[in-house]
Symmetry: C2
Subunit: 82 residues, 2 copies
């Protein structure tokens, strides 16, 4: 069994209103050190490999379902599951 960690982030050029709202709240709470906040998704998948190549499998799932590649980037790491 493999544990796959997928990080999905908005592309640099895309505005992040949710991140801006969080940054505004942090400022209002007195955390003025915070210069920017960007919010993305973090997915953990448990995968039982079969004959398919893992990298191909993960990229397909990311591009077909898990991310919107028009506005989002992704990267991933594969680990042995505990």
């Amino acid at each position: 069994m493999k544990k796959v960690k997928v990080y999905v982030t908005l592309r640099e050029s895309i505005l992040d209103p949710q991140g801006s709202a969080v940054q505004g709240s942090l400022h209002n709470m007195g955390y003025e050190e915070v210069a920017d906040v960007r919010i993305g998704k973090y997915l953990e998948l448990q995968i039982e490999p079969k004959e398919r190549d893992m990298d191909t499998l993960i990229k397909e799932m990311c591009e077909k379902l898990l991310t919107n590649t028009v506005i989002e980037d992704y990267r991933y790491e594969v680990e042995e599951a505990n």
Copy 2:
């Protein structure tokens, strides 16, 4: 300037209906290797340190605003921003 990466995940004991829905969709699409999906948040903060200690600052922000510690865990990494 520091770049802080915060990973927020649901606690082990908490059901993740969004993750289950994604897993169901992946199965329907033929990705039967996927045994489990858990979905969390990934935040990137740019922080300009002042006199406050970074770890204390980050933990406070996580516990007061960024996470719901009743149902979520978090971990973070601090890097030099590019």
